[in-house]
Structures are given as structure tokens and as C-alpha cells.
């Protein structure tokens, strides 16, 4: 029973990281109607940025995270301006191939500057004690303590590492803030309007280009946060680190209904939980196949994802 809870918590943690990445995919898709294949590689850049700054002596951890976020945000905006903006109005497949080109570019720059050897990422919560759940009598006690636990004799029934805990909490906070931003602020509402109808939004005086840039900036910033959380939990980084989580997050975005922000959150979390549970109970080699199988079943039953809207084609 407790091992199930432990797998579930790990799944929630992985899922909230996927959700953060999926938000970037889904926001960009909603507004620019393009699949940004380079999004996964922005995660990788964020990871390296945090790694390099943390390796210097003067830089505290919080500053490293801020630098990673800034680097990714600037990178996302630059990519949008240089590669995607000239192609606005071009056939979607051309934009897709350009995004693939950007993805190759980022990977190869990382290969040249950082080499292909995996590097060890120091966790941002290194040294922090894990959370333990201990039963004393009947009352469960939840506290953070490691070796010098006052309940030394009692075995903890559940251990949750600080990284896992952080991933869940940070993601929840970010998702709440993002939802508030989109529904309450002017810029957020402009994003919704643009994703609904770009032409009409422009007629209402919304700066469509500025809004698209803002979307890329937010998506990339979220990717940087996801990068730091992910590399802390799975402490290794290579130039290809971002590509598989990127694809998984893309799947999560489609799973929830691409273009829908709550959909990306639900899709990401569900995907993470399914992946961890199938790793634990079915087969670790086949967990990817199971994730994709579930996706396919969901899409066949609900062709536009869990929260996607059905679009009726008009003649």
C-alpha cells in the first residue's frame, strides 16, 4: 500500500514537471498554431545554464535558477523573432520543419560547447532532508528529518525526497499564478483573445505580435523552471536531455487537448502518474510504450483530447 503511495507521489512529481513543459507547448500552439519542436531543447539549455552558473563559486542557488529562467526567456524570444516570425502566414509544415531545424541547432551548439559526455547536475535541494512518514501508534506524523530522527527506532513507511516535494509544490504555485495571470490581467486576456481569433483581436486593438512574443517568453521561462526541477530529480544532463521529456510533454499537451491550459496541466500530471505506475507494476522497459498506448486510446475515444473543444468544419 505504502509503496503504491510512494510511486504515486513520484508520478505526481514527474507529472508536474511534464505539465510545466506541456504548458509551453499548449500556449504556443493555442496562439501561434504551431508545434514548437524546439521546446524540449530549451529545457536542455536551461539545465546547462543552471549547471554552469551553479558551478561558479560566487553564485548562490537561487541566482542560478533566476539566470536559467532569464537565459531561456531571452532564447525563446530570440528564436521566435528570428526563425518563426518571418514564417507567419506560411504553410504549417514549413513552420514545423523550421522548428525541427532550431531543435537541431540547439542540440549541436550544446554538443560543440558542452560535449556529448553526460554531466552530473547538483540538485538544488542537495543536502536537504527527505520527508518521512512514520506511524506511531495510530496517528501518522509527517515531518522532515533524516538520520537524527527522534523516532529512531521506528521505520519510516514513506520517504519523499525534497526534490520530489519541491517539484510538486513549485508546479502547483506556478500553475495557480499562470491561471490568475491569464484570467485576470489585461495581457493574459489578450492571449486568450489572440488564441480565439487573431484577426478580431487585432481589430480590438490588441498587439498580436507582442502577445505572441509574450507567450513564447512565458513558455520558455516555464521550461527553465521545469529544467531545474527535472535535473535535480534525475541528476544528469546531456545535449539530448530535453528531447524525450519534450516529446512526452507534447504528448501530454495533446492528451489534455492541445491549446487548452487546464488540459495541459491535467494531461501532464496523468502522464507522469501513468508512466511511474507502469514502470513499477508492469515493466520498466515498456513504460514508454504504455504511455503512448494510453494516449492513443484516449484520442481514439475522444479525438480532441480530454478538454479539447470539438471544432466543426464548415464548408
Amino acid at each position: 500500500m505504502m509503496s503504491f503511495v510512494s510511486y504515486l507521489v513520484n508520478g505526481l512529481s514527474l507529472g508536474s514537471i511534464y505539465a510545466l513543459i506541456a504548458l509551453g507547448y499548449t500556449m504556443v500552439y493555442g496562439i501561434a498554431k504551431m508545434l514548437n519542436f524546439a521546446h524540449g531543447d530549451i529545457i536542455m539549455v536551461g539545465g546547462y545554464a543552471a549547471l554552469i552558473t551553479m558551478a561558479t563559486t560566487w553564485c548562490p542557488v537561487w541566482l542560478a535558477i533566476v539566470i536559467a529562467v532569464v537565459v531561456c526567456t531571452v532564447l525563446g524570444v530570440v528564436i521566435e523573432k528570428v526563425a518563426y516570425k518571418p514564417l507567419r502566414g506560411a504553410p504549417p509544415l514549413a513552420v514545423l520543419i523550421t522548428a525541427i531545424g532550431v531543435s537541431y541547432l540547439l542540440q549541436n551548439v550544446a554538443l560543440l560547447t558542452q560535449t556529448a559526455n553526460p554531466k552530473t547536475f547538483t540538485s538544488i535541494a542537495a543536502g536537504a532532508p527527505p520527508f518521512l512518514l512514520v506511524f506511531e501508534g495510530k496517528a501518522p506524523l509527517f515531518f522532515t528529518a533524516a538520520a537524527d530522527s527522534p523516532y529512531g527506532d521506528l521505520k519510516p513507511v514513506l520517504t519523499i525526497s525534497m526534490e520530489t516535494f519541491l517539484a510538486i509544490v513549485v508546479s502547483i504555485v506556478i500553475m495557480v499564478l499562470l491561471t490568475l495571470f491569464i484570467n485576470k490581467t489585461k495581457a493574459g486576456k489578450a492571449m486568450l483573445a489572440c488564441s480565439e481569433d487573431k484577426g478580431a483581436a487585432q481589430l480590438m486593438g490588441i498587439n498580436v505580435n507582442g502577445t505572441i512574443t509574450l507567450t513564447f517568453a512565458i513558455g520558455s521561462a516555464l521550461a527553465a523552471v521545469a529544467a531545474v526541477l527535472m535535473c535535480s530529480t534525475y541528476p544528469q544532463i546531456t545535449p539530448y536531455t530535453g528531447s524525450m521529456p519534450g516529446i512526452k510533454a507534447f504528448v501530454a499537451a495533446v492528451f489534455g487537448g492541445i491549446g487548452s491550459i487546464p488540459g495541459a496541466m491535467i494531461g501532464g500530471v496523468l502522464l507522469g502518474v501513468i508512466e511511474q505506475l507502469s514502470k513499477a507494476y508492469i515493466s520498466s522497459q515498456l513504460s514508454d510504450a504504455i504511455v503512448f498506448l494510453v494516449l492513443i486510446i484516449v484520442l481514439v475515444v475522444r479525438p480532441t483530447g480530454i478538454l479539447g473543444r470539438k471544432i466543426n468544419e464548415k464548408v
Binding site: 500552439y29 508545434l35 519542436f37 526563425a83 518571418p86 514564417l87 507567419r88 502566414g89 506560411a90 504553410p91 504549417p92 509544415l93 514549413a94 514545423l96 520543419i97 523550421t98 525541427i100 531545424g101 532550431v102 537541431y104 541547432l105 549541436n108 551548439v109 554538443l111 560543440l112 528531447s243 516529446i247 507534447f250 504528448v251 495533446v254 492541445i258 515493466s283 522497459q285 515498456l286 514508454d288 510504450a289 503512448f292 498506448l293 494516449l295 492513443i296 484520442l299 481514439v300 479525438p303 480532441t304 483530447g305 468544419e313 464548408v315
Partner: protein, 368 residues
């Protein structure tokens, strides 16, 4: 009389004939040259993979260019063909009772690889083709990854008692199992006999090319293009949309399976992880740069894009960087509204369009 016929030939037929003869001359000339020892080793070594990638590109062009659906899982069908044909070859080769000549074994392996890939095409096509657009793309990506994962976990061992099949772990062998041969070894992969050479690849390529062009030029092919250009209009004039989409999807899968069969017989150790989405995307890049719907464009783009990075291996690590930059630059230059207007304004559009005409028959717009 014959000359008269050529004169009145339909434009499409003439175009197809030029493509076919061009490909035939090119590939057979290269094969002859490499056999004569004129070409250096590096180029000779490139010929077989280029031929295989050309087959993949023209088959994907049927799905993306003619049918108008973005498929990101083409490597999955190649994987099916590679594994089925490899297993068939290895089983026949290791069975002492079966006296099958090598050429027949290879032909059988290729045909079976193609058929199995087609079966998978139908099985996958039925659920997939209920979807459209980006959702279809992501589901094909999912299927590609699933097939890769499954192939990565298959074990096949042959001993005196017959075949033993294992999934996710090697099968347990019973008594009397001396001389057991591991045919498929899970993540390590398999070593099919090295039968593929440039002549075989050229012949298979030309057969596939002819079949594809005939399909596209047939009533069914035109139905597919009608579905691509306007789904609802095609439905309303009585085209059985599902049937033609499934047909094109299956043919595309079968040819990818054939390419996979050639591939598994061309390299010494083949692991399933080769068939990931990066391979699918690589082929998609060939197809899109060559021009959607244009077989000739796919062939030319594949040859150039595959050969260039290999030939410039000396540049070392920078070659993929240059490739990426060239890819982005070409896409922007070809498709950005700004550049299209610029070309029109300076009057350069006529020669450019003429030049582009070689590569592009259909205006990109195949995929909505």
C-alpha cells in the same frame, strides 16, 4: 508511330516517365561505376543507404504529400519490415532442413517484410485515420515509439527443438538445446545476412517508384488528392474518404516495410533504437524540402541532404550545425511571405519559379 505517342502523352505521364528514367539511369550508373571500382570507398558506401532513404522518402511522400496527413511514425513501419524480414532470413538460414537459395530467401524476406508492414498499416490506420491534423500526427508518433519499444524487447532463440520466443527477457531453453542460436537479442538487436547491394536497392527502388507513381496517377490516387484538397467536398461528391485514406496509408506503410527489409540486410548489427522519432523526422525533412507530392523532388532532396553531411565529414562537428542553419535558412527563404514578395518585386520570381518547378509540382499547401 511511337514518336507520335510520345508527343500526345499526358503531361503527368511524361513527367513520371522522366522521373523514372532519370532515377533508373542515375542509380544504375552509380551501381555500375562502383562495381567498376571508379568510385572511392566513401561514395560506394553511401549508395545503399541513400537508395534506402529514397525509398522511405517517396513512401512518406504518399502520406504527407498526396494524402495530406502529417505522419511522424514512419520509422515504425520500417522497423516492422526490418524485424520481420530479418527474422525470416535468420530462421531460413539457420534451418538445416530448408534448402532455399540465397536470392529466394532474400526476396521472400523483402516481400514478407512489406506484407507485415502493410498489415500493421491497416491495423494502425483504422484507429489513426479517425483523427485529423495534429492529433493524427501525434498518434502516428506514438505508434512509431510503441513499435520501437516492442521490437526492442523481442527475443528469438533457435535450437534443436525449434523456435523459442521471449518477450522482455530471453526465453528459457529446455533439454537438448546445444547449438542454440540467438536470432533476435532484445536491445542488442540482430545480425541479418548482408545481402543488400546497390543493384538490389536500385531495382527495388524503381519498382516502388513505378508503383507509387502509378497509384498516384490512378483514380484512387486522384481521390486521395481530392480528399487532401477539400475533405468535405470530396465526401460530398461521393468519394469513400476512409477507404482511400486507408489505402494510401497502407501502401505507404508497405513500401516503408520494404525499405526496412533492405536496411536490416545492409548493416551488420541492427538495434531497434535506431527506429525512433528522429529517423521519422529526418525522412519528413527530406520530403518537405523536396516538395510535397513531388516524387522527383523527394529523390533529389534525399540524395543531396543525405550525401552532403557525409561527404563533409572533415568539417567534423560543425557539419550538423551547418545543416541546421541551412535548413532554417532554406525554409525561411522559400516560405516566408516577405521573401516571396521580395522575389516578386525584383522580378526574380520567374526564373526562381522555373527552378522551383523542378522540385515542386504542387504548391505547398498539401497539409492544411
Amino acid at each position: 508511330m511511337k514518336r507520335f505517342k510520345v508527343m500526345t502523352m499526358r503531361k503527368q505521364t511524361k513527367n513520371n516517365l522522366i522521373t523514372f528514367v532519370g532515377a533508373a539511369v542515375l542509380f544504375f550508373a552509380m551501381a555500375a561505376l562502383s562495381q567498376a571500382g571508379v568510385l572511392n570507398n566513401k561514395i560506394t558506401g553511401l549508395l545503399v543507404p541513400i537508395g534506402i532513404y529514397v525509398i522511405l522518402a517517396i513512401s512518406l511522400n504518399l502520406t504527407v504529400g498526396v494524402l495530406g496527413e502529417l505522419s511522424l511514425g514512419h520509422a515504425g513501419f520500417m522497423c516492422v519490415g526490418a524485424y520481420v524480414s530479418g527474422a525470416v532470413s535468420l530462421v531460413i538460414q539457420n534451418s538445416p532442413n530448408l534448402a532455399v537459395p540465397d536470392w529466394l530467401r532474400f526476396a521472400l524476406a523483402i516481400v514478407l517484410g512489406g506484407i507485415m508492414a502493410a498489415v500493421f498499416g491497416v491495423l494502425i490506420g483504422i484507429p489513426v485515420l479517425r483523427l485529423r491534423g495534429d492529433y493524427l500526427a501525434i498518434v502516428t508518433l506514438g505508434f512509431g515509439e510503441i513499435m520501437k519499444s516492442l521490437a526492442n524487447n523481442i527475443y528469438l532463440v533457435m535450437d534443436n527443438n525449434g523456435l523459442h520466443f521471449g518477450f522482455t527477457q530471453a526465453p528459457e531453453l529446455g533439454e537438448n538445446s546445444e547449438g542454440a542460436k540467438e536470432l533476435l537479442r532484445g536491445p542488442i538487436g540482430m545480425s541479418a545476412p548482408q545481402d543488400t547491394n546497390i543493384w538490389v536497392v536500385s531495382v527495388v527502388l524503381l519498382i516502388c517508384l513505378a508503383a507509387l507513381m502509378m497509384f498516384i496517377d490512378s483514380k484512387s490516387g486522384r481521390a486521395c488528392m481530392a480528399v487532401r484538397d477539400n475533405y468535405i467536398a470530396a465526401q460530398s461528391v461521393g468519394i469513400n474518404v476512409t477507404k482511400f485514406r486507408l489505402m494510401a496509408f497502407t501502401i505507404s506503410a508497405a513500401i516503408a516495410g520494404v525499405a526496412g527489409a533492405l536496411y536490416s540486410h545492409s548493416i551488420s548489427l541492427l538495434a531497434a533504437k535506431k527506429f525512433d522519432y528522429n529517423l521519422s523526422i529526418l525522412i519528413l525533412v527530406f520530403v518537405v524540402l523536396g516538395g510535397l507530392g513531388s516524387m522527383r523532388g523527394s529523390i533529389i532532396a534525399t540524395i543531396i541532404l543525405y550525401a552532403l553531411p557525409e561527404i563533409f565529414r572533415e568539417v567534423g562537428n560543425y557539419r550538423m550545425l551547418i545543416y541546421a542553419i541551412v535548413l532554417i535558412g532554406m525554409m525561411i527563404f522559400n516560405n516566408a511571405p516577405f521573401f516571396i514578395q521580395l522575389r516578386e518585386r525584383i522580378g526574380a520570381s520567374a526564373p526562381v519559379r522555373k527552378l522551383k518547378g523542378i522540385f515542386k509540382k504542387k504548391k505547398a499547401g498539401g497539409v492544411e
